[in-house]
Symmetry: C2
Amino acid sequence: ASWHSNKFLDPVHDGAVLPILHLNGYKIANPAVLARIPESELDDLLRGYGHEPLHVTGDDPLTVHRAMAHALDTALDRIALIQRTAREEGVTERARWPVIVLRTPKGWTGPAEVDGVPVEGTWRAHQVPLSAVRTNPEHLRQLETWLRSYRPEELFDEHGRPRGQVLACVPDGDLRLGATPHANGGLLLHDLPVPPLERFAIEVDKPGETMHEPTRVLGELLEAVMENTSDRRDFRLVGPDETASNRLQAVYAATGKAWQAETLDVDEHLDRHGRVMEILSEHTCQGWLEGYLLTGRHGMFSCYEAFVHIVDSMVNQHIKWLRTTRKLPWRRPIASLNYLLTSHVWRQDNNGFSHQDPGFIDHVLNKAPEVVRVYLPPDANTLLSVADHVLRSRDYVNVVVAGKQPCFDWLSLDAARAHCARGAGIWEWAGTEEGTAEPDVVLACAGDVPTQEILAAAKLIRHHLPQLAVRVVNIVDLARLLPHEEHPHGMSDPDYDALFTPDKPVIFAYHGYPWLIHRLAYRRAGHANLHVRGYKEIGTTTTPFDMVVRNDLDRYRLVMDVIDRVPGLAVRAAPVRQLMEDTRLRHHSWIREHGTDLPEVADWTWNG
Amino acid sequence: ASWHSNKFLDPVHDGAVLPILHLNGYKIANPAVLARIPESELDDLLRGYGHEPLHVTGDDPLTVHRAMAHALDTALDRIALIQRTAREEGVTERARWPVIVLRTPKGWTGPAEVDGVPVEGTWRAHQVPLSAVRTNPEHLRQLETWLRSYRPEELFDEHGRPRGQVLACVPDGDLRLGATPHANGGLLLHDLPVPPLERFAIEVDKPGETMHEPTRVLGELLEAVMENTSDRRDFRLVGPDETASNRLQAVYAATGKAWQAETLDVDEHLDRHGRVMEILSEHTCQGWLEGYLLTGRHGMFSCYEAFVHIVDSMVNQHIKWLRTTRKLPWRRPIASLNYLLTSHVWRQDNNGFSHQDPGFIDHVLNKAPEVVRVYLPPDANTLLSVADHVLRSRDYVNVVVAGKQPCFDWLSLDAARAHCARGAGIWEWAGTEEGTAEPDVVLACAGDVPTQEILAAAKLIRHHLPQLAVRVVNIVDLARLLPHEEHPHGMSDPDYDALFTPDKPVIFAYHGYPWLIHRLAYRRAGHANLHVRGYKEIGTTTTPFDMVVRNDLDRYRLVMDVIDRVPGLAVRAAPVRQLMEDTRLRHHSWIREHGTDLPEVADWTWNG
């Protein structure tokens, strides 16, 4: 799919890409497919991709080097012409960018034959061609002949230093391969002009009185970032055709969707100079954004939560790269790779099981802790605060999981900022421990839907078990749960024990696979008291509340969990437990009859 | 890449694929790239892929249906001609298979315009075109007009049953879409003729006296399976050009590598009718194998461990499919999807960090437990036994992780069979608990390299701390660690406690990320005593032993772990602990000076 990137490349503002398809006939132990089809068929393919091929073929180094220099001149002239006509003459016809096809032998200028079998020009050249130089004198002789064929005496002086004529070919300053700022993007990076959040924040006087779609609110912030960078053009939103589906469409007021191919009257928001990049290939989105960040720009990747697994292997390598390069003092930090995962596991009411997978969090949390950050903002203002943080951050891979469905507004902007800075904290207004020495139970939550279920459970407990001292804890920054020796954001044991208690039952409602929370917290004193509910890979097409019921994450099940685990409640609260169980059964029949959730669930409010 | 599958399709023995590229102009909210390039450019692309395009374009249903029928006839005739000339006349020239490009409006025959904006033929048709039929009478009227446009009175009788002329179009028996056995592959499946393992097994009189490369031994078994299926042709080995690199090359004695493109004299094992399928695209390998299994055949996917993450998203969907379809009584079980992950994390001596990632195990273990199996055979005979099991199994995704480097032979075939049947067991010969009431410490291991380190640690303890009662436990089947309520292979608590003890320190050397073992075992009584070593994402290019040292999985560190955790040893065994620490330091200097591991490590044997 990446070959089709030329339909998204703006010759007026963007740079150019000159692909060089180097066909040496083989890959590892096999022929390369494109090396074994007729040249005319390969030309058809490259023209079909929208490129114009230039061929360089040969096995005589001097001839090939000259032909390659000529092909490069031709290609660069064509690129300059394309850019000039687009920039100065306003030509809008889609350009046919050049591509060079370079055909040389595999293992070129290496030993032609070793131990009686051909090596140069064959798949055998993929491995070390002379493997026994220490023990086989003939191999050693061949190695010497081979290395002498490069005439080192012409290249180096008697002290082994490159001669003047060699050094004369080396360019100066930033033109040196190792010094070009385009390969050390942090040198080119400017702070992103993120506007004050006050302009976009939801007013929250009391928790849970209004509802907003968090990603829609974020869209307005992103619109302002697009607006603020309209001259600099160093911020892009990439995604597999989901900007509108993920309710970020406010950005279209500031910029369009990059598009150089044919446009029809019915199209909307397509723009030759747009900075929203949509292509239905998560791989291409990831590749575009990685390249963009590595060359000193900023961006965000918006993706359906389940399908971001498509880039698992690519993000692995980006994290490994960040981990390795942050140790190099000369390499300057680059903007973080920011994922916005939405259309998440709990709200696939129409798409069902195939669209449900919260496991990308598990995937990235296996990787370098100094690079990886995972955020689960529970409402619109916390999403704004998290977005502000990740957009300004450097050298991280930030995974932000947030819903696009209407969600209660729990925190004011100030409260959200404080909560996000802590990463995890007590929501006093939701609990009932005030005036008690310590809580009887901790209700913890991470993620928007689990937060709502925990609050609904807290409200049920307040009504049915008013004597119980309940603490409600919300976790925005998942790595807070890790020991602080294992992650820079990890809590110390005293902090963890103070928040979750070392000995009280903790009922934890989590957005993803429940065992991830155990994997993060298994070293904590109170781990044996930790009971986690989450997505147990039970997915289908059903009502929103039925999804949480099927995975035992619903408010009624959470209340039952509290009754089961707080010492002394089992017998005393048995009638309440039975009521919860009956409500779950009533839910089961109701959705089958009505196709919608119980009115008490659908119309639930915190204050009602 | 999958478009290039035609270079691997054998017109003599294989079926055919007729791609239909349906361009309705859009994907979700955007134009489709291939719909917005000139038709001549699209033709170039398809010819470049090796196909010959046939076009069907229009918006009048009757005309398009007729044109499509004609195009299908033409395409099927061409396919028949290709197959006939290959099969009867021995034509070996690569075929140019047909492809149909079908262009019709998006939302075709739906409402042309809704609320004053065009819908049919635009991206808007991707969503529900009339969203307010319950509240908007105009929408309801449009819906009725739309549905009546299909003239239901001609299709159904007064009881709502399809009329005779409709039913007359429905084919009989296996030709019905819902009854074709090709879509219910289990109906076509034959048991795989796996030969007796005795032919391939390594003779093991005493543990650890010989070494073999496990995957090379497996290659001989796979050769026999290829040989036994040479007429049936229902077993394939797929992989991204790694069959030889993974030391499975014995299979080439029985079959070659599928290849229909140009062949040169220097090529080896390329074969128009080969059943090894190598393409440097893990996605295409996965897609090929899924299709092959779903249509009633067998196979194995051999892959570098780190790069199998490329198919994370695809295997998700296959597991979801298996979980869902196994509940359908009419759907017959299909052969399991078998992964052989080799060239694993511990032996990337040349490739380094980019090639190190044991996280596919974590990925699949998040998925349906009734489908997923993970095996870590510690030597050649256990690999044979595991392979025998997975090749015969049905409806699973089996992940087998095994090294290709020389590895000690620990178990005879009989012992290996018993050990694999148990999935986890005590290696009495390696421990020192005989004659004691219970062990002082359990040394557990899973994976070939961790097993060697645990045995080396056990030997050091035997020498330096002879009074210590040590139990050595090896785990082949990772899901054994899960509670049996959570996985069909999970151990009951009494079984687990008997094996690992409820209260003794367990030092566990694991192949992958150590926290996975905690995630599996966190509910067990002895969890607080469980101390796991594994890959902590510290990778580089170094000696084999330095890799385990850097990740604290080495024998010396494991002995220190034992001393640190067995009550009473800290003071008494302090000199031994110091010796272990000194040896690690000596290792550190030695590899820097010599570039190879300490002789006592490189030449280590269990019996020496």
